[in-house]
Every structure is written in structure tokens, then in C-alpha cells.
Symmetry: C2
Subunit: 394 residues, 2 copies
């Protein structure tokens, strides 16, 4: 799995744990048009603050990422540490500091282990290799149980363009404008406004529509680097059709990664799509879907494989969106279990119970109040979620 002009590496630097990949590097041979979206949490990690400032120029050539420490709530000392790590890497790669994007994930409130970076960066730079993409995807894992990668190709102006992405995330997931870490590289030739627009629109319907536990992280970011090596006709705003083609391909990769995050949600045993239709406006459909998707009572019922639709209606009722409870239909998979706000009957409930034994479940809610639809993806709430999060730092 590789892509023209990019190389990758990852090492065990011992930032927090021994014998675990914890430092990763993505480097482009040439400066890339680069766009990013970042957490909207007011409490922002040091790398988020630094990256946003640097990305005003719309250019980057490398991403340095660590797990084991979020470098969040670390004050001026944390900012200084972030700058120092990028200075070390810039010297080693012989590129300007401003061309480096940083990302961190792990425990909040602890200072970065600079010694581990100092010791690790030379080896990291020396082991750069076109085939190490997957290794970086492993280095960014924390409570993740699997590495998450996705890719696609698309043709624009008879040139084949490749898009490859990786992501991490399993808890503290209710992205708002961005998600946990995701890095996408492409050889597309595209200018900054078009890349940024494609990313923002792509994230809106993918990472911003998933939730594991309703908690928005301090470190969320999605970065896309485009090096232009595919030599396609410039995507620069002249052809909206080409941009749309690129955006669709990008969205496919983002959606794939977002799905992998929910499926690997902390302690999750099932993936659940909450689909709300028949709303007046899409944002109302989304708000109802999100309230249902974050309800602890709904999510524990899915873990128990209990077709407890009353909890779904109760969650809808506190969503803040007006609707008529006695017009609502609810289906689990293909099984209609609620018609006009009332139970369909024992047979339907028995059939729905069978649907709930699946690993992937779609709940469709129809409000009969309009034509707008929206989906939010979530996972169930299991005993292991509590175990993982009661133990996380110990």
C-alpha cells in the first residue's frame, strides 16, 4: 500500500509504555497543499493550536504524531515542547519548521516526554519508507483494538488519483467539526480552497456523524495532504465537476475510516445506524438521531439485545426538536416495531429481537413531517466500556 511521493515510518520511542509503537511520521518528497479540520472543544491541545496557526498558509510537508500523551492542558510548557519536537524533526529532515504538522493522542494533563522524542526522531527519519503506511496507523492506536486504514482511486482528466487515509479513535468520540486523529494523503493536484472545501464537506457527513460516548476530544483533527504527483488537470475551481469527483472519493475514504472508529468503539459489540427520515430540515433529523445515538439507556438496551423502543421514543422526546409522537414509525432492520407511536405487537417484537443479534443494525425512524433525512452512527454501551474507562490511566 503506497502512493507516489510519500514515505512513512514508525518506532517504539517509549513515550509512555515500553515495546509499543508510539511515534509515527508521514513525509512528502515535496511541499503539499494541506487542509485540516480541528476540534471545536474550547480546551485545545498544544499541537492543535500550533497546527491551526501553521495551516493558515495551506502548506505542509510532514506530519509527526505520537500516542501515549495528548499534550493537552499543558499550558505554555506544552506549547514549547510541541515547538521543540518540530524543530528537532525540521533539522533532521532539512525542511522549514512551519512545514511540519504535529498530532498527539493519549492522556490529558501530562507533559510530553521530550527525551523520548530526542532519542527517537533520528531513527524515525532514517527508517522512512514508501511501504510503511500501515505501521504509522499502528503507532497512533491507544484504546483502539485494530488499526484503521482506507483507500480509493478515482480518475480525473484521464489521470488516476489515489487517496489513502488512516485514523485512530475508540473513546471520547463525538466529533464536532472534526474527529480524533485522521490523516489522508493523496497525489491529487488540487489547490487549497478546493481541498479545504472538499475536506469540510466530506467531514460533515462522515466523522461529524459518529458518536461513541458523547464526549468531544481536545485533540481531534483530520489532515489531508495533496502532493500533485498524479499530474491531473489542476482542481482549482474551474471545474466544479472535477472537485465533486474528488470530494466523493475523499468522502468514501473518510466514511470508511469513520465506520471503522465506531466499530472499534471502546467495548463495542455492535454498530448501530440511527436513521431519521421525514423531518422538516436535515439538521432536525440529525439532532434527533444524535440524541438517540448518545442515550446511555438506548445503548445499553442494544448491548442487552433488547428491542426496547420506548427508550428511543423517550430520547427523541428530549431532543429539543418538535414532532408528533403519535405519527412516529420505528423499524429495526426491516421489522416495523412501532406504527403511529404504538407497539405493532408481540410478533414484531420477536422478529426485532432477531435483528438485534446482528453485529450491524439500522434503526429507521420516520417522523412523517417532511422529506429531510440524516444518519448518525454509534455503537452499543457494554460492560467493557466501563472497564476500559475506569482503568484507562492505571
Amino acid at each position: 500500500m503506497n502512493i507516489k511521493g510519500f514515505s512513512f515510518s514508525a518506532i517504539e520511542s517509549g513515550i509512555r509504555y515500553a515495546n509499543r509503537l508510539d511515534l509515527g511520521l508521514i513525509v512528502s518528497d515535496t511541499p503539499c497543499v494541506t487542509a485540516g479540520v480541528f476540534t471545536t472543544n474550547q480546551v485545545k491541545a498544544a499541537p492543535v493550536v500550533l497546527d491551526k496557526e501553521r495551516l493558515k498558509a495551506g502548506r505542509a510537508q510532514a506530519i509527526l504524531v505520537n500516542s501515549g500523551c495528548a499534550n493537552a492542558c499543558t499550558g505554555e510548557k506544552g506549547m514549547e515542547a510541541a515547538r521543540l519536537t518540530s524543530a528537532m524533526l525540521a533539522a533532521k529532515l532539512n525542511i522549514p519548521e512551519a512545514m511540519i504538522q504535529l498530532a498527539s493522542t493519549g492522556v490529558i494533563g501530562e507533559q510530553l516526554n521530550l527525551a523520548a522524542f530526542e532519542k527517537g526522531i533520528p531513527g524515525l527519519a532514517e527508517s522512512l519508507n514508501a511501504d510503511n503506511f500501515e505501521l504509522v496507523a499502528k503507532a497512533i492506536m491507544t484504546t483502539d483494538t485494530v488499526r484503521k486504514i482506507a483507500s480509493t482511486t478515482v480518475t480525473i482528466g484521464k489521470k488516476e488519483i489515489k487517496i489513502m487515509g488512516m485514523a485512530k479513535g475508540a473513546g471520547m468520540i463525538m466529533p464536532n467539526m472534526a474527529t480524533m486523529l485522521a490523516f489522508v494523503v493523496t497525489d491529487a493536484r488540487i489547490n487549497y480552497p478546493e481541498l479545504h472545501k472538499s475536506l469540510v464537506k466530506g467531514v460533515e457527513r462522515t466523522f461529524n456523524r459518529i458518536t461513541v460516548d458523547g464526549d468531544t476530544s481536545t485533540n481531534d483533527m483530520v489532515l489531508v495532504m495533496a502532493n500533485g504527483a498524479a499530474e491531473n488537470p489542476w482542481i482549482d475551481g474551474d471545474s466544479e465537476a472535477d472537485r465533486q469527483t474528488f470530494q466523493n472519493a475523499l468522502e468514501l475514504v473518510l466514511k470508511d475510516l469513520a465506520l471503522q472508529i465506531v466499530a472499534d468503539g471502546e467495548g463495542a459489540t455492535k454498530t448501530i445506524t440511527i436513521r431519521v427520515c421525514g423531518a422538516k430540515e436535515e439538521d432536525q433529523a440529525e439532532q434527533i438521531a444524535r440524541t438517540v445515538a448518545t442515550s446511555s439507556l438506548v445503548k445499553t438496551a442494544f448491548f442487552g439485545e433488547d428491542a426496547n423502543w420506548g427508550r428511543i421514543l423517550a430520547a427523541m422526546g428530549r431532543s429539543g426538536v418538535k414532532f408528533s409522537p403519535d405519527h412516529v414509525d420505528i423499524a429495526f432492520g426491516d421489522v416495523l416495531i412501532v406504527k403511529n407511536g404504538l407497539a405493532v405487537g408481540k410478533d414484531a417484537e420477536a422478529a426485532a429481537s432477531k435483528v438485534l443479534k446482528e453485529k450491524e443494525i439500522t434503526v429507521t425512524i420516520d417522523l412523517y413531517d417532511g422529506k429531510a433525512c440524516a444518519e448518525v452512527l454509534t455503537c452499543d454501551f457494554s460492560l467493557d466500556y466501563v472497564k476500559i474507562n475506569a482503568d484507562y490511566r492505571s
Copy 2:
């Protein structure tokens, strides 16, 4: 435990389970001034709809309550069932139907077992007794592990007034204008506007400031019946001091009951008070406190007795209230663990870990941005919460 002019009874009617108290009755010898606050969930149970309509007159003489079935999401058939049960009781007690308030709690989406009411109501009426208050408190329990009662006395115009309350609730608890079921009886002589005002203000700072799981029920209600038997000078708006005295006493009972609900939160092992100070406005302090108090990550960390203050700051950051992260102080009990947004150090963390072993913990957050404060009470998020809610209907 009794109060002039009120009698109580409870029986095992078999609404859903055998050998469990599930039908309770509170009756006043004379019509009472009665005020109520009800769930703001758009999906309202049949008894909530009926009670609100009847309480426009500000009078009631009896409360009939059942556990085992919420009579919510049951449509016109559920409304008809509610009316039928009150007609049965009205005939037996020989009082107008409109003087009966109904309350139900239990599974959502199932129709009421009318046969159980028909069989049970005669015995219920015949066993009315001044000393059975606690028995009714037991009959309204669902996942509650203990019955919840509270009482106080206060003197107004040289007359001693008694206030006695009961409540139930352990899950689906984030009351909004009201909570799960709570019934208060008093012998105070007070008119409807003053009683209603005292109740609304009292609930605002008690039941509306607790959360177990962030889910607002379809059946929440708090009812207060005042029969005037204390013969105190009328509390009718002429003396604001007397009303305030009554409200303080009522608030004491409501707060006591609210605390008991949180302490008995589904699976809870600890009670946690999130106190936010130094805010510009009280509602901003409350919004931050509520976001922290409902965060699954914060609540699982308390279960794990982990002084994970990073999760508290992360939750504050997504609360929607503006504040300066680098001015924030956080203390666990008396132990300051975060100063100006940064960790105080290892010694403070060790001391905070000791605080976390307690059963009752106060977290104090200071924003240094104003003088307003607010508290929200919550409990930790344990393995048993998931077990209880994955199994609830089975």
C-alpha cells in the same frame, strides 16, 4: 410517620410481577390545594396528560400510583385505561374523578393491566391507614434499591406545619422541570398560587439539579397536596416571609429526596457534587456543571477512583459556555489538583486519589470569571449500570 388528615395504602396487585407491592394510594380526608410539576419530555405518559389537565383547578383529594408499567407511548387506549382506573377509584372512595391524580412508572410502550387494577382497588381502598406512608414509598420502587422518604416541620403563625415526601427513581434521570415520581403531603394552609410558586422554585434547585444518566423520563412528576389541617394563618400572598418559610421547608424535603435518588442511582457506588463557581451567570455555571456531571468518561473515572481531571476539563470545553481554560482551578474535596488549568503535581494527585475512595465527593471548579455558582449532583457510572439496563425488561 403520619400527618393530620391523610391516609395511605399499598398492595400487591400483580400488574407485572407477583409478590411485589405495585399499587399505592394517598388519600386526604378533605379536598387539598394541589400543585404539580411534570416532565418536559415531548413524549408524555397518559397519567401526565390527564393530571396536567385536572390540576388546572389546583385541587385534588387522592393520588393513585402504580409501578410495573409506565402507561407511556400507549396512545388513546392508554388514556382510556388511565381514565378507567380513576373512575374505579372515584366510585370506591365516593369522590369526583377529577379529584384523583394518577401516576405510573415502569416499562414504556405496554398497555396497563386493567384486570389488576379492577381486582386490587377495593382492597387498596379498604386498607387505607394513617401509618402506611412508607408502604406507598415501597410500592413505587422499580430499579430502586431503597425506598425514599423525607420529612420536616416548620412553625408559621405559632402553628406547627408538617411536610412529608416520598420519591422513586434510579435510572432515566435527568429531570427537566420535574423528576421521576415524588409525592409530598403537608397539613399547611396555603392557597394555590403560593403552593405552586413554592413548588416550582423548590424543584428548580433540587430535582432539576440531579442526573443519573442524562435521560429525561416520559413520566416525571412531583405533586404536593396541602390539606390545611395545621390551621396556620393562610399563606396567601400577604406575607412573603411566611411563604418563604414554607418554601424553605419544602425545599429541604425535596432536596433530601433528590439526594436519595442520586445515591440510589442505577449501579451507583458514589455520590458526586459538581460545584462550579466564579461564573458570570448562574445558568452558565449550571450548564458547565451539568455537562461534566453527564460525561460518561468523567463518571467511569469516578467509578475507577481515578483523579482524571483532564476528562473534566475536556467536558467543560464542549459545554457551550465560554471560559478561559488557563484560569481554571479544580479541587477534589479539599485537594486542589488543577491550578490555572495545569496539574498541581504528583503529591496533589495522590491526595486526590484518597478523596476518591470516599462515598460522597465534591468537585469544585472555579472559573475566576464572575461570582455566580451552581451545583449539579450525579453518581458514578459502574459496571452494574450497564448490567441493570441491558437486562431491564427481561
